[in-house]
């Protein structure tokens, strides 16, 4: 009976992947058109934040997987703590992301045609940052959605409506959270590493 829910979430993930695919295609095509501008754009991003955020999301993926493991081994209390850790990590990710955006905006790096390129940058750099804001922004929206679901599951575990005999909701939310992580696994090199 639970099979259909797993299937549905996988289909949602496939659908979401194609949503991001459109932006990925734009990124790679524009990178093909303006390689130098994209390299200099990557150099302008704040690398320690990107790296730290990657570490945070990978860890949060582990903690939510761990909470399923705890549930299966009949330790709902430990599962609860593991979920709480996931929430904290997710919030930390968002906080860092907001901090990074605020630095960028302070430096005059804004999306769209109002982007002030400064003396050095060439054609295409505004596209890089428009895509940067769109892709990290869309991803952050998914983090918010995923985090809300994690909180919902957390509340239900605490109330005891998700328990070791019935925890399909936890599995589904975890699946979605891992997907959000996977998207970031690709965004990270595209915006912070490929100089």
């Amino acid at each position: 009976m639970n099979r259909r829910y797993h299937l549905a979430v996988w289909i949602v993930i496939a659908s979401e992947a194609l949503l991001f695919a459109g932006l990925f295609a734009l990124y790679w095509s524009y990178r093909g058109e303006y390689p130098a501008a994209f390299s200099s754009g990557v150099a302008l991003d704040i690398h320690w934040i990107g790296g730290l955020n990657t570490f945070i999301l990978l860890t949060s993926s582990f903690t939510i997987a761990w909470s399923i493991h705890m549930m299966r081994t009949l330790r709902p209390r430990a599962a609860l703590w593991s979920l709480a850790a996931t929430v904290v990590l997710g919030l930390a990710f968002l906080a860092l992301k907001l901090f990074e955006w605020s630095i960028h905006i302070h430096d005059g790096i804004v999306p769209g045609i109002h982007y002030y390129s400064g003396p050095a940058a060439g054609r295409g750099i505004s596209l890089f940052f428009t895509l940067y804001y769109m892709m990290t922004g869309l991803h952050a929206l998914h983090v918010v959605a995923g985090l809300s679901l994690v909180v919902w599951v957390l509340v239900r575990v605490r109330r005891g409506t998700i328990f070791p005999e019935r925890y399909v909701a936890l599995e589904l939310v975890a699946l979605y959270w891992h997907f959000v992580d996977v998207v970031w696994v690709f965004l990270w090199p595209m915006f912070y590493l490929m100089r």
């Binding site: 790679w28 570490f55 990978l58 891992h178 090199p189 490929m194």
Partner: protein, 83 residues
């Protein structure tokens, strides 16, 4: 999934991420970064998302979705670079 495989996967992910970070500093290039990202995705999908032990149709969905993501990027990029 066993506790051991979860922990092992997590350590692998962190190591891969660190490798990606370090290689970027020495100019590792686009291909290396993408390859490492693909490896990380594979680890997350197989272990954390339980494709390894999961239903065959889930695996099919994942592969098909990935194929179409790559297809869209490749089709558009191929146009730009061969114009």
């Amino acid at each position: 999934m066993t506790a051991r495989s979860l922990v092992f996967t997590y350590i692998l992910l962190v190591v891969l991420a660190a490798a990606s970070w370090l290689l970027a500093d020495v100019g590792g290039g686009t291909a290396v970064a993408l390859l490492i990202a693909a490896l990380k995705t594979l680890a997350i999908a197989l272990v954390f998302m339980e494709l390894w032990i999961g239903h065959a149709s889930d695996r099919v969905i994942a592969v098909v979705a990935l194929f179409f993501v790559v297809l869209l990027c490749a089709g558009a990029l191929a146009d730009v670079v061969t114009r």
